[in-house]
Symmetry: C2
Subunit: 397 residues, 2 copies
DNA sequence: ACATTATGTTGCACTACGCAACAAATAAAA
DNA sequence: TTTTATTTGTTGCGTAGTGCAACATAATGT
């Protein structure tokens, strides 16, 4: 309700405007002071002051005017500005069932380091899992970046509230755990720590990390062995009460055969491969051979894919009725099946829909680097550039 | 993404702080200057200046210090402030299939006038429907309020984008209509006009109008002949791309009998009454007699109610998987059935849920005055007290 | 009656922004 | 080539809003 909130000290105004300037620079990449002023709705002189402040802080730098040719203006060319990439770094961790993944991004939101390590999630208790993950992350962080690490994000397959209290993490066997506090305690330095559901982290990574601010509702699906989902509204993650918003995989589907299965059990990699192994003549049936078989119209594979397309259509329709998304982005390895089956999925959607409900735009995620760990890091990047972070900074002293 | 945005002129700060003060006064009802300062995070002196400004504008007034006894402070008692109720008025219209309803609220968000008129929606074209509705609204508005009417909201059973462009309104037979512009043209004076889906309007009315700012996700259901739904997140309406978010009534349900029916056709008043009339021995079977029959455990009625409870549980589970609500509020006449069937609904939810997903809190809406028309008016009240309105005011001159 | 506590008000300092003017640098026109 | 037009970045000044500290005010508790 208090969307904006009051603005206390004049210095707070400057801080907010500096953050707004940095957000604009993040989104647009490179801007001159004048362009920045226009985007922010400020006077050129104010823009200049703000940039001056950010420059002495080392957060923004001028970039050689060499490459501003495309702007065919008819006046003095502006000095392009950009975020100084190595002014701040953010760590993202994914604690999965089989792996721990670490990603380090810089202020430009580019990946500068990443690492993956096998991990047997269910057999490890929380404390050691967190300490292993955090120490792996800070081992990956180069010593020269230590002092400029401005946040740590942890993505976990769990439901949790906004304060990082995990209610339950079925795949890891965790229950009622204050993961955020646990992680904070394991971190060597003082820095913001956030915890997020892995599917949500993926969603924010695919959205925020790609610098795209689709104003509307986007449903991100991650289809691996399980099926997760996240919702992004106008560039902001919509968590839901327990971080489970968009978890389309747990939708109930009373399909043709057994009643009351979860959608995940039909859409997931496991289900596809099980059915495919039963009918395949390939020596080593796997997802890749399945995809080629579908492409080659091998009847058994096509039938499996058809079932998959029907289930996906069903899930998208149900989700569409409730969150009214105008865009769907498919990720995960199984997403590669979609381009082959797009026509069938759309056909099923149309035949199941009652009336002229608008179809969401359906895309597949191209950038393979995005994942929950990257998204978790993005969450802290976003927070660093948001006014809430400033609020907390005020509370501290 | 640009959640806050830059703050341009110093005078803009004052405006924002004045709005924040008014929001606080709306939420808390009565506050002293010092309390206001604490809530807003401002200095007492600033609070005093802001209040002074609002007082000369007539938006805020001091209320006799008679009634501040409960605050057992040990110092000088504060002078209580409140929004001047008749400083501004807002009109809300619901264009339904059978009625046109008009509600007028004041700055305190209290209903000061309302009116209802029969209407045969499908037989009337849009232009005349809008002009009839708008003139009914401005007839209801007392002449002395004319100059202080600060907004008009229109609730319609339709899907529309954020700018008031209706894609389709099946029940009224409208298609591709710029309803917001149409309404703006019909309004005698210049004022903000908003259009919203009726279920969404109901939801914001039940949430915002009740001054409750449940921080979390609430799903509002309106169960009449049709079933609509709206989602409110942290006190703000979540529309979705086409204003259809929360439209649980259109969920597909392949129930025990016919496959692929919409949930609405099972949960709605029509379905209940049709089934009830077929088995009832009452002379005039209607919803009231049905409810008493259910209370008296008349087997046929209980069976119908049981089916209803199952369908409701199914819908809530499906919706819960996608928006992850922590609260559900049931409205509309059929909601009266819920208290009788609460245990069964919860039972079904538990039996259909796979694991320990947290159950949302389920309530029935008590305040009978809230409805789409009231909610539409609330939408403009909210807008009047929001920073966006100020933005637009800046754009105008 | 006195101390204590909290409120509302006032004068002063600080700071951020807008405005206008100016120098700089480029493109288009003469 | 020179001139004009256009856009950019900078600087000095005025405006305005907030914070701070001090003070008068009005209650409670001893």
């Amino acid at each position: 309700m208090n969307e904006v909130g009051p603005i206390a000290p004049p210095s707070g105004i400057r801080q907010r405007n500096e953050l707004a300037a940095m957000r604009a620079l993040y989104r647009h990449g490179r801007l001159s002071r004048a362009e920045l002023a226009r985007i922010l709705g400020l006077n050129r002189s104010s823009s200049g002051h703000i940039v001056a402040g950010l420059t002495v802080e080392g957060l923004v730098r001028e970039v050689g005017t060499a490459e501003q040719a495309p702007t065919s203006h008819a006046g003095r060319p502006g000095i392009m500005l950009e975020l100084t990439p190595d002014a701040a770094f953010f760590l993202g961790i994914e604690i999965g069932v089989e792996h721990i993944t670490v990603v380090e991004i810089d202020l430009a939101c580019r990946i500068v380091n990443n690492r993956m390590e096998p991990f047997d999630g269910p057999s490890v208790d929380v404390e050691t899992a967190v300490s292993r993950a955090v120490s792996l992350a800070f081992d990956t962080l180069p010593p020269s970046h230590r002092g400029r690490c401005e946040g740590l994000g942890v993505a976990v397959p769990a439901q949790m509230d906004r304060k990082g209290l995990i209610n339950i993490a079925p795949l890891l066997g965790w229950r009622n755990i204050q993961l955020a506090d646990l992680a904070r305690a394991a971190v060597p330095a003082q820095m913001p720590v956030m915890v997020e559901n892995d599917a949500n982290a993926f969603a924010i990574g695919a959205s925020y990390g790609a610098r795209e601010v689709h104003s509307g509702v986007t449903l991100y699906l991650v289809m691996e062995s399980g099926v997760g989902g996240g919702i992004v509204v106008d560039g902001t993650l919509f968590r839901g009460a327990q971080g489970l918003a968009g978890e389309i995989g747990h939708l109930r589907v009373n399909g043709s055969d057994a009643p009351d299965r979860s959608l995940e059990s039909v859409l997931g990699l496991e289900c596809i491969l099980r059915a495919y192994r039963a009918i395949s003549t390939q020596p080593d049936p796997n997802l890749a051979t399945f995809l080629t078989d579908v492409r080659d119209r091998v009847p058994g594979a096509v039938a499996i894919a058809e079932e998959w397309a029907r289930a996906l259509a069903y899930g998208l329709i149900q989700a569409g009725r409730i969150i009214d998304a105008d865009r769907v982005v498919l990720g995960g390895s199984v997403a590669a099946l979609y381009p082959l089956m797009a026509a069938r999925v759309l056909h099923h959607i149309r035949s199941m829909q009652e009336e002229s409900f608008p179809l969401p735009m359906i895309q597949t995620n191209k950038d393979e680097t995005v994942g929950p760990a990257f998204g978790a890091a993005c969450l802290l990047h976003q927070r660093y550039l948001s006014a809430d972070a400033a609020r907390l900074a005020e509370d501290a002293p």
